[in-house]
Symmetry: C2
Subunit: 113 residues, 2 copies
């Protein structure tokens, strides 16, 4: 089975895409847990945040920059938002391809899961 997020990033599997560049894709979570709930992924396959290497610093900055930009576009930059990434089983990671959750549009509770 190919990686579903690799397929979305490559445009071979449909998703509600809100941002696309050669390096990064963002789309709406199909099980949204907040009025704004987007996933931001590198198009290149990385299993999780634990996979990031020093040379990936520009990619990581790009992912976060896209998240911040999408927060502005979604109108949640001023009200606030949460960025989450899950790594492995206890983290609750369900797709083994690095992704940031951008969530907002409601007051996010504590603890975060």
């Amino acid at each position: 089975m190919p990686c579903i997020f690799c397929e979305i990033g490559a445009g071979r599997v449909p998703a509600d895409i809100v941002y696309s560049s050669p390096e990064v894709t963002a789309f709406r979570d199909i099980n949204a847990q907040a009025p704004t709930h987007l996933l931001i992924i590198p198009n290149r396959h990385l299993v999780s945040i634990a996979d990031l290497r020093p040379e990936d610093a520009p990619l990581l900055a790009n992912l976060v920059s896209v998240a911040n930009e999408l927060a502005r576009r979604e109108g949640i930059a001023d009200t606030g938002y949460r960025i989450v990434t899950n790594c492995g089983l206890n983290g609750g990671q369900t797709v083994p391809h690095l992704h940031l959750h951008l969530m907002g549009g409601r007051s996010m509770g504590w603890p975060p899961g």
Copy 2:
């Protein structure tokens, strides 16, 4: 009032520090919500993740690299963990100094707040 996280980073306010470098400090959350609950901060004052500029890419990579390293030291790298950052009111940000929450040692629930 000086920023409490600036003061911790500068060593002027005590905390249960688990990592310290000229650029980054990490310490245990005083209201831990998981067996491992660490805060990773840049020593330099940035209000939130929204404040990151392109030239901060190495700093961001350093923060994440420290989080991953601390996950290994805490023995949660293999079982999994969650990294969270809150921005603004709806994000649940309580200290206006950029910090990553590293959480693990238990199964993290969903949604993340």
